[in-house]
Subunit: 189 residues, 2 copies
Amino acid sequence: MKEESRKDEIINTAAKLFKEKGYSAVTMRDIATAMGIKAASLYNHISSKQEILKEIIISLAEEFTQGMEFIKSSNFSSIEKLKKIVSLHISITSQNTYGMASLNNDWMHLEEQLPYYLKLRSNYENEFRKILKEGIKKNEIANSDVEVMLFSMLSTLRSLYIWIPKKEDLNSEELSNNLSHVLINGINK
Amino acid sequence: MKEESRKDEIINTAAKLFKEKGYSAVTMRDIATAMGIKAASLYNHISSKQEILKEIIISLAEEFTQGMEFIKSSNFSSIEKLKKIVSLHISITSQNTYGMASLNNDWMHLEEQLPYYLKLRSNYENEFRKILKEGIKKNEIANSDVEVMLFSMLSTLRSLYIWIPKKEDLNSEELSNNLSHVLINGINK
DNA sequence: ATATTTAACTAACACTTGTTAGTTTGCTTG
DNA sequence: CAAGCAAACTAACAAGTGTTAGTTAAATAT
């Protein structure tokens, strides 16, 4: 029961193609061909193209929600919490770079699940924002524009899916330390 | 001759739709309907859907190339050059957020123009990288991993198109200062 | 006034899309 | 061996795709 099901194979194959061309440009025939079968055969395992997208995106969004929940309820310092967020993004992204591309680029093609996804996303951003504000109040974080700091960090973390696959010899911990350092201390001497 | 031509109207309307749903999900009928005409009428002004995408992306990519060329050949300090790059991104993006969405998300659907676009992009990244390396050599910039710094800054700058439209009362200069400060000094106290 | 241009229209095309129905194949289990 | 099942297949569909051809109406230039 723990081995990868045929459905999972379809989802992973699709995610790979979605990353290259986007959800709308990938046809069911593309997915089927990549698996060496015919398009109609896909429907023995999944109910629609939509379902594939939903499975890719929602499971990832829930992983992030869970990770943030854990960090929130910890008693790390604000800076330590931010470092944990960096680790969270690197960990999830390096395990599923294809899916992360869909999460970032194809979320608007969710249909019934779109409101749920948007709720998870704005909750996540709100928790992130709270950590920054708390850090400023506690004098751990510079009193710069919170929205600018949030935007800058989140943009970088959300783009990891583009960048991680280019680094063949990825050491997650080292990357996490380097990236945390740059995000927290900037590039200044 | 300086007023917006019908072709430009089509390109701008298309860019807006491309931002919302992506190039592949937008049909010629969608573009036409948004302009209050029929799809076939578009072809009095443009030769293909492809051409619309090309016009949007290539002109923006060339603007960036030109801006970088200017910064490169200036004799600002490395940090000042980076601040100019931040300004460049904010300026181009706030003038054309729709187009910037296509540049970021739909470039892979360029066909004949794809190699040219990729060349411009990698040249741009190389010049950016050179500025960082020069800054490290001159002891203006911290000796952190150059690729991590480059990735972090570029990710943030490339995501501006998502964020700028949310700020209704945009003061470009103030944003430029705030963002430069965060990118250069980080968020640390 | 006539000729020309601009920019819209209708109608249609060949092809591609997601999906369904019904069937066949080959493995697993009693 | 027979039955059941998982997972492939072929064939077809209705709707939607980008695009072309030919036409028409209004604005502009001669």
